[in-house]
Symmetry: C2
Amino acid sequence: MVAKSELKFIRSLQQKKHRQRHGLFVAEGVKLVTELLDSALPLQAIYATDAGLFPGATTISERELEAVSSLVQPNKVLGVFHMPQPEPLHFSDWVLALDGVRDPGNLGTLIRLCDWFGIGQLLCSPDTVDAYNPKVLQATMGSIARVRLVYAPLPEALQGCGVPVYGASMEGGAVGAETLPAAGVLVMGSESHGLGPGVRDLLTATVSIPAYGKAESLNVATAAAILLYEVRRRGGGPTQR
Amino acid sequence: MVAKSELKFIRSLQQKKHRQRHGLFVAEGVKLVTELLDSALPLQAIYATDAGLFPGATTISERELEAVSSLVQPNKVLGVFHMPQPEPLHFSDWVLALDGVRDPGNLGTLIRLCDWFGIGQLLCSPDTVDAYNPKVLQATMGSIARVRLVYAPLPEALQGCGVPVYGASMEGGAVGAETLPAAGVLVMGSESHGLGPGVRDLLTATVSIPAYGKAESLNVATAAAILLYEVRRRGGGPTQR
């Protein structure tokens, strides 16, 4: 049995303000918790319905787990982890930057895409959804453990970065056309608002995805998938796995 | 005011069995309804909070609309449309085929992707989520009006189609490597189950997306985005817009 106060504390971490005050976040489910235990993130506490499956775990009943879980179907284990310490960005490889991406599912998918393409750093504008939001974490499928996130105003973070900054835009040059450098920044805006003016001023060039049909736009995650594929195919970076 | 029995009928169309019995589906919101009104799909009835905005609309109160809506925030208008008549597939251009894609948001995003890349035909296995599910419709952003869907067992529908059939697979050849034909079929499986054995037997080749990082897989919509981009870039089909 877990103390009421402890359960209350865990549940409070579903809110961003409490996560930020304590520097802690909650991960749930066997896959996500296992990936995070394998990462460098320090563990604060772990609770499992079968404590034997996770070393150091406190036993939590199914009912207690349901009471604190953000999942529709709680899955055996819940870990409280410390958020990583902020580190400065380095621009020796490609960096993905997001300007105001609000949808948790999209951010989770974008983190997973970064992990697939070996993009180790994701820069998020302050109005991008918090990556430790439970819905984002679930959508990352564990990739949150391998992609470093930095929340900062994009103009400040990218000013003087020393590499070309490409903005995804409906009016950009088709991505297949030009050569891409070995290192750079790709900025994606939200579907509804596009790129903010402070970001537009920083761009070296804009890129777009060739359209053949009549859809007005692409979802931000599917557009990023194509652009990151091109960044790796024609740009530079790690060797293919 | 709309009759109670009429409201009840509209609400019943949120369920697949009622949609299929009547051959009708419900579309909501200004954007989606406007796109469908511009399409060839026959309208059965239209209800709007401001009937002057949509010719032929019956006035519905905000309260009545909330009572029948599947949206968290109902948006002014609701249309009841006839489902399109089934037509046979033709294989003169690329066709996207889905094997057991269950997530409504993913199917909606895939329909939107087809529309972006001018893929006019989407073949879905019978266990793929119903495209007239309200969550799918919303995620299509109106593209449902321009992509023709066929639900049929994939082995039957693809047997003897006369064009190469490519399956997306983690073990496939990298998509950037080989030449793609002007017409073909691309089959995507679900993330959890991959391609079924009946489909595997039909494949001309498998294709995969080069991986550079450590993510185990990509979301089906982001994977399809990259593969359809390659199909149009290196295969054939309509001219770029």
